[in-house]
């Protein structure tokens, strides 16, 4: 944690960091030079010797800088700035690209939102997890078997509705849903639709 704070402080003082390191390195070279001259070397040889003993200054600057771990961030910032500059230089191309992206993303989002509301969320029920379907239905209103648990008769439904104490409301559905033709919303043309026969209590909750 303390390390992160130190590193953050460096991040916001990068130019001062660079200046201070430069001064430090310069002092070191000068001191080494002086020591060489004091041991009898010529000034030119002393300076060269000091530099040789010091090593590659650029490499040292780079590794000192990267020790703080912000190299990736600086690279990223440089790349982004370069990208922005390039984009601003060729404005026509940038405008066309942006427009295409906007249209593509906008259109897709609109279509998805529409389908999401219509198709995926077609049950505006308060507690969908408390909704239970008994049976399977869909047998065109008839079943040849006695005691079928796939399809229930209307009298059974009425008795169930009156005597049961588990559910807040009971409705019927799926008992007779053929594919047929009809009109929706007062439109002119008939279109194929799938209808379902439901009890009046279907839309109560």
């Amino acid at each position: 944690m303390a390390e992160l704070l130190r590193r953050l402080r460096m991040l916001f003082n990068r130019s001062r960091f660079r200046a201070e390191l430069e001064e430090e390195m310069r002092l070191h070279l000068n001191l080494r030079e002086q020591q060489q001259i004091a041991s009898g070397a010529a000034p030119e040889a002393a300076r060269r010797n000091a530099r040789v003993r010091f090593g590659n200054a650029t490499v040292i600057r780079e590794s000192s800088h990267s020790a703080w771990g912000w190299g990736w961030l600086e690279s990223l910032a440089q790349d982004i700035t370069y990208g922005m500059r390039s984009m601003l230089r060729s404005r026509g191309l940038t405008a066309v690209a942006l427009l295409s992206l906007a249209l593509g993303i906008g259109a897709n989002t609109a279509i998805f939102s529409f389908l999401d509301a219509v198709l995926l969320r077609s049950l505006p029920v308060r507690n969908p997890s408390q909704l239970v379907v008994l049976g399977e239905g869909g047998q065109l209103g008839q079943t040849g078997r006695y005691g079928s648990t796939d399809l229930y008769s209307y009298p059974f439904y009425r008795q169930f509705q009156q005597k049961q104490q588990v559910f807040s409301e009971v409705a019927t559905l799926f008992s007779y849903n053929p594919d047929t033709h009809g009109t929706i919303d007062h439109r002119d043309q008939m279109q194929p639709i799938t209808a379902d026969l439901v009890s009046g209590t279907f839309s109560a909750h």
Binding site: A2, L21, E24, M25, L27, H28, F54, S64, W68
Partner: protein, 109 residues
């Protein structure tokens, strides 16, 4: 290996020990101290001290302050922190263990 090249990983140990021995030093003094303490055997590439010192600053093993040298020049003085002393002990024990083992292996039979 170049003659008298310091094995990698021991530079930080040398710096920590040098700073531990003296209260505060700047980079040049550290280099000179290592040189003299080793009877001129360990001539570190002097610039490599600075990235090492920066790494130790990041990890909090040393702190740095600007001061003035005897010759009236501005210099950054480093001193060991408590965490630095702990790290020095860790590295010393590691060093003793490894090099003791190497010495045992290469001992004339």
């Amino acid at each position: 290996m170049r003659p008298n090249e310091i094995p990698s990983g021991t530079l930080e140990l040398l710096i920590l020990k040098t700073l531990g021995r003296h209260c505060e030093m700047h980079g040049y003094e550290v280099a000179e101290s290592i040189l003299h303490a080793s009877d001129d055997v360990l001539a570190v590439e002097e610039g490599s001290l600075y990235p090492a010192l920066q790494r130790m600053l990041v990890k909090g093993w040393v702190t740095a302050e600007w001061g003035t040298t005897a010759g009236n020049r501005r210099a950054r003085y480093y001193r060991l922190t408590a965490a630095g002393r702990e790290q020095l002990a860790v590295e010393l024990s590691h060093f003793d263990r490894i090099y003791g083992a190497i010495a045992r292996v290469v001992q004339p039979a």
